[in-house]
Amino acid sequence: MIDLSVDFGFIKLKNPVLAASGTFGYGIEFSPFIDLNKLGGFVVKGLYYSPRPGNPPQRLVETPSGLINAIGLQGIGVKKFAEDILPQLRKYQTAIIVNVCGETEEEYAKVVDFLNKEDGVSLYEINISCPNVKKGGLCPAQNPESTYSVVHLVKEVSARPVITKLSPNVTDIVEIALSAQEAGSDAISLVNTFLAMAIDVETRRPKLANTLGGLSGPAIKPLALRMVYQVVKHLNIPVIGIGGIMTDQDALEFLIAGARAVQVGTANFVDPEATLKIIQDIQRYCELNKINRIEDIIGTLNE
């Protein structure tokens, strides 16, 4: 039997494959398709403290091997989540991660503070790519100081380990990752989506009602992988790789580069069984290559 478990120190995952926030609903949407217990874990849709209406449609644009979304983090807010969703999730034996959002630093802390009292959440993943309304729409992830500041605040209130999820829309991803680490983040996940746009040449309007959105999917994998590769060299906390993962091969690229786990995003839309297939195929890869523990692959890039 191949040991697919990965140990983060503060948590041990069954296997290194998680579902990414915003692409996996609140988890239950996938129960018709897969046994959620088989996942390394899943990250629920981004939660603000209050419910949010989200952006008007059109919210999605397909691009070559990619998807631009501008959902605008529509969501039910943390209270309704705790009331309606969390009770349904408690029965699952897998890591349940809440993706924490905020329009201000204080909102991040409020979400975490509220959830601290609720059972059934394993970890927090703070989504520092949320536009900060106070700071003119800039997001904390694009600046090392604001990254430090949000992470630090959240760590102070958090009763659970914290993953900081980075934005790829930066000059120097290592600098931001180091800030998050210094601020006490227990792990890093990257990447969130790339800021993108599409125009309808007939109407000459942006295809998205919001004009700009975030690009995900296979198109971005080479960029995400590069960032993970750069970041792992400098961090001593675990890194979770995200971006365009569709197959076991994609996932393995991230693990070999040094990610200790991966998140599967857009692929869940294309194939709701994608996460499980990737787990099975990683297992098969290990068998073929006589690897007994997935940990023996992580960070083995041979340069």
Binding site: G22, T23, F24, G25, E29, F30, S31, P32, F33, K45, P53, G54, P56, P57, Q58, R59, L60, V61, E62, P64, S65, G66, L67, N69, I71, Q74, R205, A209, G217, P218, A219, M246, T266, N268, F269, V270, D271, P272, E273
Partner: protein, 268 residues
């Protein structure tokens, strides 16, 4: 929602086409057994990363273990799909969404189904179902030219009364199907309307329906990321108890009633 199934091996047992319109028969027993008129499936058009997303298609009919889809070739996904042949498998997810709902009195009432272009797709299944409960819906079917109403015979063969219109007058009523329908209102007193087609068409029908106080349901379209409620991409503005909200049409729709839909210009 828990009746949704992914069937990666829906066998194409029959294929027909008229110019850009295609009719595929798919063997998918469980989906066939669960499907309701107005529901749809999500089809994987390619196993490659491009085109990436599945495509939504209404369930056009159900018979035994089989379902049909009827689609118009209009972009890269539908082009690839149109190249599939009998004997190929399709990877589909369904049945998805909430379909049409008709009253218990349908049997004895005038019921009107109005389809524009490929919008006719879900209405055949609905007509089948209404027929099976003893109702005799009247079909209004419009297109740009006579090439855009290829299913006319199919409805006729099943004995449905059908009114056709073409924008260019190449067949039937010359003009919009909504005008054709308004024209027939002198002879008809519909108690229920079901419509699917381009938004302006549906909006015009909505206005008639409201004016005449006829309950009406509409099947909406929207770009869908997943089709099963996970992406929040497919929303439309819908009236709820709390006011209006962006509602996922893949879960709560694609069919909504006159009273739920907020008809307005595409939000920008």
């Amino acid at each position: 929602m828990f009746d949704i199934l992914k069937d990666p091996h829906a066998l194409i047992t029959h294929k027909e086409h008229w110019k850009d319109y295609y009719l595929f028969t798919l063997e998918s027993p469980i989906i066939a057994s669960r499907a309701q008129p107005g529901q749809f499936i999500m089809v994987r058009v390619s196993s490659l990363p491009y085109p990436l997303l599945r495509r939504p298609f209404s369930i056009h009919s159900v018979g035994g273990k089989k379902i049909e889809i009827f689609f118009q070739k209009s972009g890269v996904g539908t082009s690839l799909l149109s190249n599939k042949i009998t004997g190929d498998f399709m990877d589909i997810i369904g049945p998805l969404g909430k379909g049409f709902s008709w009253s218990q009195h349908s049997k004895t009432q005038d019921i009107v189904l109005i389809g524009g272009g490929r919008g006719i797709a879900p209405l055949y299944f609905l007509a089948q179902k209404l027929h099976s409960v003893g109702a005799a819906p009247k079909i209004f079917y419009g297109g740009n030219t006579k090439d855009d109403i290829p299913l006319k015979e199919k409805f006729e063969q099943k004995g449905f009364e059908i009114y056709c219109s073409t924008d260019d007058g190449s067949f039937g009523f010359r003009g919009l199907i909504t005008d054709c329908f308004k024209d027939q209102l002198k002879n008809l007193t519909p108690k229920q309307i079901f419509a699917c087609g381009p938004e302006p068409m549906m909006k015009a029908i909505y206005q008639v329906a409201v004016r005449k106080g006829i309950p009406a349901e509409f099947s909406l379209e929207s770009v869908m990321g997943c089709g099963f409620g996970a992406c929040w991409g497919c929303v439309k503005k819908i009236k709820t108890k709390e006011g209006t909200e962006w509602i996922k049409i893949c879960e709560e729709g694609p069919v909504f009633s006159s009273f739920e839909i907020v008809w307005e210009e595409q939000e920008k």
